[in-house]
Symmetry: C2
Subunit: 460 residues, 2 copies
């Protein structure tokens, strides 16, 4: 195979890491001193430095302690072979799933961090409450209020180490092995793997251009009686779809009707390009009696301010938050108080509206550019809904004109043409649509987008 690792262990890691499609955050490294991947380079977790192959390391015995059974629930992916072909220089990458670091408000974050260390060094550096740093909880409540949810008190949310931890805590708190959870097909890959580690059986609900199909969803709820339903209603990863307001109301109504918990993951809702999206399920729940008690809302600063802070939050029923907080105590004690205090000062300083305006404008331009280029270069061989926010174009190959209709096959050809994206099939917990693909426009400038899509067209 010519595989560059000697260690059986690392080979195993390689398989696993690729298995979860690590083009999304967190970024892999190539072994340089932690440098960010150069713009345009595709980085995967599996592409670790070859230090483990250094001849001067002592020979190690095979690790014979059996791993926990739950690890058997995480599958490796068929697309890993594809990723072995990646990594060559000069590639334009639409494969990432992260914001553009050039847009980070470094100065604002620096001021916030310094304010935290000046004003409350003890609190910013000491252990903190598991449920979160109270001033940050207050700022997050205010942030939610500014977005239309004014009835969430600071104590009705807990701070999590990124919204990924909110998902983990939901799994830990709610999922017993064999429990069913309904997710969108497609949905966020790390959600699939996260819930499967806790033994969940995932049921996939179909989506269309307006998000999850509520008739089908209600049927699945009635049939499977899931522990909960996980949705990314607004500009989701990977679909980029925006659930219509009508469907949002239906989701909340069916939650009450079927007494089913709904988890709304909303990392992208602030990244709209034109008119704001419909209210979040959280905001709308104020209008649907009983629905708030059956709703968990996960938010994050990762896509709008900085992923590196690892500051997310979870709003939910009091008893659930209490249990999640107990679980969090044994997961990481609490989220970094230094990061929390920094985030609190940042929000308090009032810089977020300008930051949001800036990132919205940049991503909107790139999304428009990519949509136009795709229509121009790929014509009727590709179908997609022009995203109204978020980081992604989710598309489907039509096969028109005898062109390639398989996402993985196009991905292979694209790499040969020095452009990369992620095929869509792995984003499905079940019944993958092999014609789909995900293209991120977030970290690529418009000229590179034009060039990359042209290469994609040539690969078709």
């Amino acid at each position: 195979m010519g595989f560059p690792y000697q260690s059986k262990g690392m080979l195993s890691q390689y398989r696993y890491r690729l298995g979860v499609l690590s083009t999304d955050p967190p970024l892999g490294q190539t072994g340089g001193r932690g440098a960010s991947a150069p713009r345009g380079m595709v980085r995967f977790h599996g592409w670790l430095p070859c230090k483990f192959a250094q001849p001067n390391l002592p020979a190690t015995m095979p690790f014979t302690t059996p791993f926990a059974d739950r690890l058997n629930n995480v599958e490796t992916s068929a697309i890993r072979e594809l990723f072995k072909l990646l990594g060559k220089p000069g590639i334009i990458s639409f494969a990432g799933g992260f914001p553009d670091s050039a847009l980070f408000d470094v100065e604002g974050i620096r001021e916030a961090a310094n304010a935290a260390l000046s004003n409350e060094p003890g609190a910013a550096l000491q252990y903190g409450a598991t449920e979160g740093y109270q001033p940050l909880r207050e700022q997050i409540a205010a942030f939610l209020a500014a977005k239309g949810t004014s009835d969430v008190a600071p104590d009705q949310l807990i701070v999590t180490t990124g919204s990924q931890q909110a998902l983990d805590l939901l799994g830990k708190t709610l999922i017993s092995p064999g429990d069913k959870v309904i997710v969108e097909g497609p949905t966020f890959l790390a959600t699939i793997q996260c819930f499967r580690l806790y033994g969940a059986e995932l049921i996939s609900a179909p989506i269309d251009g307006e998000g999850v199909q509520t008739d089908a969803l209600e049927q699945l709820i009635a049939e499977h009686k899931p522990k909960f339903v996980y949705l990314i209603p607004t500009f989701g990863n990977p679909s980029g779809a925006m659930l219509s307001e009508e469907r949002r109301r239906r989701v909340l109504e069916m939650a009450v009707k079927h007494n089913t918990l709904i988890v709304e993951d909303d990392p992208y809702g602030d990244l709209y390009f034109g008119a704001p999206p419909p209210p979040s399920l959280l905001a709308l729940s104020a209008e649907v009696p009983g629905s708030r008690d059956l709703l968990v809302y996960c938010g994050s600063l990762s896509k709008v301010l900085s992923p590196g802070l690892r500051v997310g939050w979870m709003v939910g029923p009091t008893e659930l938050l209490a249990k999640a907080t107990m679980c969090k105590q044994f997961s990481d004690a609490h989220t970094s108080t230094f990061a929390q205090a920094t985030a609190a000062h940042y929000l308090k300083a009032g810089r977020m509206p300008a930051t949001l305006a800036k990132v919205r404008a940049v991503y909107a331009e790139r999304a428009t550019c990519m949509g136009n280029a795709l229509r121009r270069e790929l014509g009727d061989a590709i179908a997609f809904v022009q995203p109204q926010g978020g980081l992604f174009v989710w598309a489907r190959l039509t096969g028109a004109g005898g062109k390639v209709a398989d996402g993985a096959e196009l991905a292979r050809r694209a790499i040969e043409n020095n452009v990369a994206f992620v095929p869509g099939a792995p984003f499905y917990a079940a019944h993958p649509d092999h014609a789909t693909l995900r293209l991120s426009f977030a970290t690529v400038g418009v000229e590179k987008i034009e060039e990359g899509v042209a290469r994609l067209g040539a690969a078709l």
Copy 2:
């Protein structure tokens, strides 16, 4: 009961939080804007603000979604009733389990954070590799080398969100429900609860003044064939004991003999007061063939620099680290890169030796003061080994002279005398010794220690 919460959910939380003896990190809050607990005050997680009792919050429905079965494994504690009596002003507290925030090198951390934002803002604020920020892994490897373990390469450790997360990842990666894990009796409370959440059956190995009794440990290993053995060999919480070098070698030898994984948790090893402790198991494993392949080492900056950064690390066999990294990807994606880059710059700046010298000196003075005061005020009614490092005096009531011999009973009387400590029984996974108590000298100045111990003597 006069209990100040209306919400059934919060009452439940209160029980749970007290159930895990939340005198240890993370600190609770009293609802002031996240202020640290005033020196001398006892704070518990359960003592949340009464905002949930505000009359203007909407009435909520009871939460009827069943929680995961694993939550049944976390027991509430019998001592929670005791803690309801705490919280009155003027108490001198030896109950905490955290470093003194007055000793934090705020200026050094500020410089490090600013250097991170100036030198590599993208890396410090963007998503990062799950296994850790490479410059920090290199600095941690250098830190370990300076302490006598020079053969751990940066790629042979992963960064964790505090060493609490290392414990969580070990549980997630290794423990299937019903698996046995041997811990010291007594051991760190959050370890007990963390492993139990993954379904572990904990076996308690006896300790004495020199740490875990190796003959008994070997017998337990042979009998129970545990998934792994968890030890805090150096100045452990709560025992403060220092495992002798001879016993350390025996532990490593029995690991090899029985092919049993050993987890060394070492957050306190740098906090020695006189001569340095024996080498860590990690360092010694270089001299015991085969033992390195059966050893996991967990370290942390929490007790020596700042808990709020939430920077810990785990050294271990390659295959185990690979699986733990995969699990971490779904736990929190990665540890805050902002905190990691800050820690990396702090270590690189070379300030750690001076910081360690400072905290060692302060804690040494307080430990000496407490030991002398205990001998003077409680005489032969108390027995303990004078700690040679760490944050704790672990003591046993002898009942001499007809004095109180029950730790919980003394704790009740002590609170009436305005001094607090933690009874020792809850630190046992099994077979508690009810005569034991844990006293922390870390956050109390010497005058208050004298006064507090005098109150304790009067309560006896």
